[in-house]
């Protein structure tokens, strides 16, 4: 790591990290609260240094399809948007998953549904982990809770995407995108050369040599038998990911009698709620899923044997709480607390919710 500590917004950290981790191309379309990703890339002009392409497409739909094209060639490519824009991308996301292409998508969520507000929200949880696009597919979903994680998860997202040939998504929100914090950016890593791509991505469309069959990048398979086999292969891959890639953080959980479950900005606010509750003698802990899919089911099931109740705290009307309940399977009460449409709770509101809903 380069030791220089910088102060920047989460969105800016995404842009700088993309350049540094050897990203080949960014395709996007501006939308609040994530426009600084594209703005920062345009300001830094990485095409002059690393050769990374930065392109403002004519729409979100074209941006995700440019990602599909780049990814099909084995390139490290990404796009970013906010909720309404991510909805537009869903067809392309399903195609990426169906064609087993690695790519990175960033969603800096805002209040919905529809055009909604520009303020922070976490109401795209379902869209991210339960589909969004059509078909039986999964996205590897990373939920950063700090500007440092915004930077770190770009490289991690690409690594996981290439490891499993599957799109990965960074699910952030307006708080994490707009907030400035200290960050240490990753070291520069060169972009892959054409030779490296040919070696590491034998599936990629890089030009057909005489000694192998052509590579076909498609999600289309007209024979249902073959398509079922494709799906079975995807499901096996998803199972491997579920076994190997679950990430979460435990905060003050050791002696906890009550457990908060929260991701992203909510986890930060919950951390303060834990501090306040502890001062009042309430043994409160926090489990923060870092990967929303694969979800830390086992960790939550284990805590169901230790705590009296759980509260899923989300900036939505109750989405992740369903996965918490599935994991806990009725062992302890699991309630939800949320604010909607761009309103963000304060730490004391969460402490009150703990007292009112699970104590």
């Amino acid at each position: 790591m380069s030791e220089e500590v910088k102060l920047m917004k989460g969105n800016e950290a995404i842009a700088h990290a993309a350049i540094r981790c050897g990203c080949d191309g960014y395709f996007g379309y501006p939308i609040t609260p994530q426009s600084e990703v594209l703005e920062t890339l345009m300001e830094v002009e990485p095409w002059k240094t690393t050769g990374m392409v930065v392109l403002q497409a004519e729409s979100e739909v074209s941006a995700i399809n440019m990602v599909y094209g780049g990814a099909g060639c084995g390139k490290k490519v990404m796009t970013s948007s906010s909720s309404p824009g991510v909805s537009l991308k869903q067809e392309g996301v399903s195609y990426l998953a169906g064609a087993e292409l690695p790519a990175l998508i960033v969603n800096v969520m805002r209040g919905g549904p529809g055009l909604g507000t520009i303020q922070p929200s976490q109401a795209d949880y379902f869209q991210t982990v339960k589909g969004g696009g059509h078909g039986d597919y999964r996205l590897i979903a990373l939920a950063p809770a700090s500007v440092q994680e915004m930077a770190d998860f770009v490289g991690l997202g690409f690594d996981l995407a290439f490891k499993y040939r599957n799109p990965a998504i960074i699910l952030a929100d307006g708080v994490i995108g707009q907030m400035m914090e200290k960050v240490v950016l990753p070291d520069f890593q060169p972009r892959m050369t054409e030779e490296e791509i040919a070696e590491k991505c034998p599936w990629a469309a890089v030009g057909k040599p005489k000694n192998r069959e052509r590579n076909v990048i498609t999600s289309l398979e007209l024979q249902p038998d073959a398509m079922e086999q494709n799906n079975i292969r995807f499901q096996e891959k998803y199972k491997t990911i579920e076994e190997n890639e679950v990430r979460y953080e435990e905060i003050m959980c050791d002696d906890a009698e009550y457990l908060l479950v929260a991701f992203g900005s909510s986890a930060r606010i919950c951390q303060k709620a834990v501090e306040i509750a502890r001062e009042q003698g309430i043994k409160l802990g926090l489990l923060r899923p870092i990967t929303l899919w694969p979800f830390p089911k086992k960790a939550l099931a284990d805590y169901a044997n230790k705590v009296k109740a759980m509260l899923s705290v989300e900036l939505n009307a109750g989405q992740m709480v369903e996965d918490v309940r599935l994991a806990v399977n009725g062992k302890v009460p699991v309630e939800h607390y949320g604010r909607l449409g761009g309103i963000v709770y304060t730490p004391d509101e969460i402490v009150e919710a703990v007292k009112n809903k699970i104590m």
């Binding site: 500590v5 102060l7 609040t32 609260p33 520009i118 303020q119 307006g174 708080v175 707009q178 907030m179 400035m180 914090e181 200290k182 900005s265 930060r268 606010i269 919950c270 951390q271 303060k272 709620a273 834990v274 501090e275 963000v344 709770y345 304060t346 730490p347 004391d348 509101e349």
Partner: protein, 179 residues
């Protein structure tokens, strides 16, 4: 040490940039820092606020319900945030345009005539630096040297010639803030 600060006023008064300079100053002083703006369409004329936290320890929530210090630059913000200052905390306000002065007696209230002073100094744009100077006088959370370094980091190079003027404004703010 941990200082949780809200700066609130009209968009265009330099609320966000004052917060940014404070955050950079904290960075220069080796503190943990968060800067969380109420972002959106309020860039000019509407209300704007930013939460800045400087701390020796890792910072949990960037969103707070109460503050050690509130810097208040218009009536709407005073109405909204006077009650959010922790007992024993600090409230700094510019009386320009304030019709109902703060009433709480369990906090330290300071007045700073920054708007009038910036006009007298013929430097209306240094308004927010006068305020920041006032803050540093009553809450010396960062050293002036680090503020100047922070300014250098936040201002584009073409504006670096304005740093001496900003320094003057900071020092003026330290002089004119009063209980």
């Amino acid at each position: 040490m941990k200082e949780e600060i809200i700066i609130a006023g009209f968009g265009g008064q330099g609320v966000l940039s004052m917060g940014k300079i404070l955050a950079y100053s904290g960075l220069m002083q080796g503190k943990e820092v968060t800067w969380m703006p109420a972002y959106g369409p309020e860039q000019r004329g509407g209300t704007a606020n930013v939460t800045v936290i400087l701390s020796d320890e890792k910072i949990s929530s960037p969103i707070l319900n109460e503050f050690d210090t509130a810097i208040i630059l218009n009536q709407q913000s005073l109405d909204k945030f006077e009650k959010s200052v922790k007992p024993g905390g600090t409230l700094i306000y510019d009386p320009y345009g304030i019709t109902k002065a703060p009433t709480r007696t369990d906090i330290n209230v300071y007045k700073i005539n920054a708007m009038d002073t910036s006009i007298e100094m013929n430097a209306p744009k240094s308004f927010n630096m006068i305020i920041l100077g006032g803050l540093l006088k009553v809450r010396p959370i960062v050293e002036l040297d680090n503020v100047l370094k922070g300014l250098k980091k936040t201002l584009p190079e073409r504006h670096h010639h304005l740093i001496p003027m900003n320094e003057t404004a900071l020092k003026k703010g330290m002089e004119i803030i009063e209980k």
